[in-house]
C-alpha cells in the first residue's frame, strides 16, 4: 500500500517540472500563437546554470547555492528568452506560422551547441542539495524532502502566475491578447511589448524547471528534448492556454509515467504518447481546450 503512496508522490514530483515547463509553453503559445521549439533548450540552460553554480564553489552551503542557482536559472533563461524574442521572433510576426517554427527550431540548434561550447560535453552533477535535505519515512520507505521542496516551488510559481494573470493589469492584458488578438490590438494594447514579456515569462519558467531537476538528474547535453515533447503532450492534453489544463495534464502525465515505470520500465515516452494520442482521437481540442 505504502508503495503506492510513494509512486503517487513520485508522480507528483515529476508533474512539478512538467507543470512549470508546460505552463511556460502554454503562455507563449496562448499569447503569441507560437509553438516554441526552443523551449527544451531553455530548460537545459536552466539546468546547466543551476548545476554549475552548485558545483562551482565546492561543497559549501549547498542549499544557499542552490537557491541562488534557481534564481540565476530563472534569470538567465528569461533573459535568453527576451533576447530570442526581440531579435529573431519579432521580425517573423508578419510571416506564416511555419517560419516562426523554423526560427525557434534554428534557435534550438544554436542553443544546444552554445551549451556545448560553454559547458562542454560532460555531465554536471548537483546532488548535494538533495542529500543535504535528507529523507523522511513513509511506512518502511524513505522519501526525500527534496521532492517536497520541488513541489512547493512549483506550486508557488503556479500560484504566482495565476495571481499575475488574474489580478494585475499586465496579466489581464496578456489574457485578453490570448483570447482575441485583434480585439486587444484594437483596444490599444501594446502587443509587441507584451509578447516579449510573455516569451520571457515562459522561458523563465522553463529555466526554473530545468534548475529544479538537477539535484536528481545531472545536466547533460540533450536534456531538454524530452521535456519539450512532454510539455507539448501536456499542453495538447490539457487544452491550449489553460492553466488548469496544464495542471491537470501534468498530473495525468506525471502519475502515468510514475506508475507506468513500475510495470513497463522501458516504454516511458511511447506509452505516454500513446495515451495522449488516444485522448486526442476522441477530443482533438484537449481535455479542457477551447
Amino acid at each position: 500500500m505504502e508503495h503506492w503512496i510513494v509512486y503517487l508522490l513520485n508522480g507528483l514530483y515529476f508533474a512539478s517540472f512538467l507543470f512549470l515547463t508546460s505552463l511556460g509553453l502554454s503562455i507563449i503559445l496562448g499569447v503569441m500563437g507560437i509553438l516554441n521549439l526552443a523551449h527544451g533548450s531553455l530548460f537545459a540552460i536552466g539546468a546547466f546554470v543551476a548545476a554549475w553554480i552548485v558545483g562551482a564553489f565546492g561543497d559549501n552551503s549547498p542549499l544557499t547555492l542552490f537557491l541562488v542557482g534557481l534564481l540565476a536559472a530563472l534569470g538567465v533563461a528569461g533573459v535568453v528568452g527576451l533576447a530570442l524574442e526581440t531579435s529573431l521572433i519579432r521580425p517573423m510576426y508578419k510571416r506564416a506560422l511555419e517560419y516562426q517554427l523554423l526560427i525557434t527550431f534554428g534557435a534550438l540548434l544554436l542553443i544546444e551547441d552554445l551549451i556545448k561550447m560553454i559547458w562542454g560535453g560532460t555531465a554536471y552533477y548537483a546532488s548535494k542539495p538533495f542529500t543535504v535535505m535528507g529523507n523522511f519515512g513513509i511506512g518502511s520507505n524513505q522519501y526525500p524532502f527534496y521532492f517536497i521542496f520541488a513541489m512547493l516551488i512549483s506550486m508557488a510559481a503556479g500560484i504566482g502566475i495565476w495571481m499575475v494573470m488574474s489580478k494585475t493589469r499586465v496579466g489581464i492584458m496578456l489574457r485578453s491578447i490570448s483570447m482575441d488578438r485583434e480585439m486587444a490590438q484594437a483596444m490599444g494594447i501594446q502587443i509587441g511589448k507584451l509578447n516579449t514579456l510573455a516569451f520571457g515569462m515562459g522561458a523563465a519558467l522553463a529555466g526554473l524547471a530545468g534548475a529544479l531537476i538537477v539535484p536528481t538528474t545531472p545536466a547533460l547535453l540533450g536534456i531538454g528534448m524530452d521535456p519539450l515533447i512532454l510539455a507539448f503532450i501536456v499542453v495538447v492534453l490539457g487544452g491550449l492556454g489553460s492553466l488548469k489544463g496544464a495542471l491537470i495534464g501534468s498530473l495525468i502525465v506525471g502519475e502515468t509515467r510514475s506508475i507506468g515505470i513500475v510495470f513497463f520500465p522501458e516504454i516511458e515516452l511511447p506509452l505516454l504518447f500513446l495515451i495522449a494520442v488516444i485522448i486526442l482521437v476522441f477530443k482533438p481540442e484537449g481535455l479542457f481546450g477551447r
Binding site: 506560422l97 534557435a107 540548434l109
Partner: protein
C-alpha cells in the same frame, strides 16, 4: 498539345540532358566523392517527398527522419530475419509497404490538427519511433543498429565484392533510375488535379472544404505519398551507408531534412533536390572544420529564414526575373 509537344519543350530537354550527364558521373568522380553523391541522391528522393507536404500541401513536418528510418530499417530487418528474401526486387517493395503502414498511422494522428500542432506532433511521433528503435534492441539491434549486406540484384549476387565496387558499379545505375522515376512520378503528382487540390488546401482549407474537397482525407493521402518517397530514400540510402542506426529517426536528422529543403528552396520543384545534394557536401565540409555542427546549421537556418526564405533556387528565380526586367528605356515619354 500532346505528349509530343511536351517532349520538345526546352525544360524537358534540359532534364534529359541532366539524366544523361548523371549516367557518366561514375567515370568522372573518384570513388569517395561518388559515394557521397549517391548519399545526396537518396536524400534528394527523400526531400522530394518532404516537399510534397511542405510546398504543395502547406504542412511542415519535423519528424520525417522517422519515415526515412522506416525504409532503411525495413531493408535491415529483412536482411536480418529473412535473408532468403534479400533481393532488391523484394526489398524495395517491402520498404514501400512498411513506409505505407507507418505513414498511414503517423498521418492519421497528425492531420486532424492545425498546422502548428501538426509540426510538433510529427516531431513527437518520430521521437517515439526513435525510442522504440533504441529500446527494443532484441529486434532492432538497439543503438548498434543493423549492418546492411550487399543485396542480390535481379538474380546477380555481389557476395564477396567490396562495397565501394558495388556502389560505383551496378548499384549506381539502379539508383539513378529509381531517382529519375521518383522525380517523374512526383512531378506528375504535383501537377495533377490531385496536386492542385492539395494546393488549394494549402491556400485556404475552409474554401477547399467548401468546394467539395475533404481536407483531412487529402492531407492524409499527401502524408502517405510523402512517406513513401521518404522511405524509398531511406531504403536506397541504407545500401550506400552500409549500416542503419536509430540516429536517423532522431530530431536532429529531421531538422536536417527541413534544412536541406529550405536551403535548396522549397518554392521550386527542383529546389529540394539541389538542397539535398548540396547539403551532403556542406555537412561533410563543416564537420571537418568544427565540432559545433548544430550551431552552424542553426545559425544558417536562421539566416536563411530571415534573408533568403525561398532558398537558393528561390533567390535564383528572383535574380533571373530581375535581370529580365532590367533593360528598361531610360527615356521618358513625351
Amino acid at each position: 498539345m500532346g505528349v509530343k509537344n511536351a517532349i520538345l519543350k526546352p525544360k524537358f530537354l534540359v532534364y534529359l540532358g541532366c539524366f544523361i550527364l548523371l549516367l557518366f558521373i561514375p567515370r568522372v568522380l573518384p570513388v569517395y566523392h561518388l559515394i557521397l553523391f549517391e548519399s545526396g541522391i537518396t536524400f534528394a528522393i527523400m526531400a522530394l517527398g518532404f516537399n510534397l507536404l511542405l510546398r504543395y500541401t502547406g504542412l511542415l513536418s519535423f519528424g520525417h527522419g522517422a519515415l526515412f528510418a522506416v525504409g532503411a530499417y525495413a531493408v535491415g530487418m529483412t536482411g536480418k530475419y529473412f535473408p532468403e528474401l534479400y533481393r532488391i526486387e523484394i526489398l524495395i517493395p517491402v520498404a514501400l509497404l512498411a513506409s505505407f503502414v507507418v505513414s498511414a498511422i503517423f498521418g492519421f494522428i497528425c492531420v486532424r490538427h492545425t498546422r502548428v500542432f501538426f509540426s510538433i506532433l510529427a516531431l513527437a511521433l518520430s521521437m517515439v519511433l526513435f525510442a522504440l528503435l533504441v529500446k527494443l534492441y532484441n529486434i532492432t539491434g538497439g543503438s548498434d543498429g543493423i549492418h546492411i549486406e550487399l543485396p542480390v540484384m535481379f538474380g546477380k549476387s555481389f557476395e564477396g565484392m567490396k562495397r565501394f565496387e558495388f556502389l560505383s558499379g551496378a548499384y549506381y545505375y539502379l539508383l539513378i533510375c529509381v531517382f529519375a522515376a521518383a522525380t517523374i512520378i512526383m512531378f506528375a503528382i504535383v501537377n495533377s488535379p490531385f496536386g492542385k487540390a492539395l494546393q488549394s488546401i494549402r491556400d485556404n482549407e475552409v474554401r477547399a472544404e467548401m468546394i467539395g474537397i475533404r481536407v483531412r482525407r487529402y492531407r492524409l493521402y499527401a502524408f502517405i505519398l510523402s512517406g513513401l518517397f521518404t522511405g524509398l530514400g531511406g531504403a536506397m540510402w541504407s545500401f550506400v551507408n552500409g549500416h542503419v542506426t536509430p540516429e536517423i529517426a532522431e530530431w536532429v536528422f529531421s531538422g536536417e531534412i527541413v534544412y536541406m529543403t529550405l536551403l535548396g528552396g522549397f518554392m521550386v520543384f527542383e529546389g529540394p533536390i539541389i538542397g539535398a545534394i548540396l547539403f551532403t557536401y556542406l555537412r561533410l565540409y563543416a564537420v571537418s572544420i568544427t565540432q559545433y555542427w548544430m550551431f552552424l546549421i542553426g545559425a544558417t537556418l536562421i539566416i536563411l529564414v530571415l534573408l533568403l526564405p525561398e532558398g537558393i533556387t528561390g533567390g535564383f528565380v528572383k535574380l533571373v526575373s530581375k535581370m529580365r526586367r532590367a533593360p528598361s528605356t531610360g527615356v521618358a515619354q513625351c
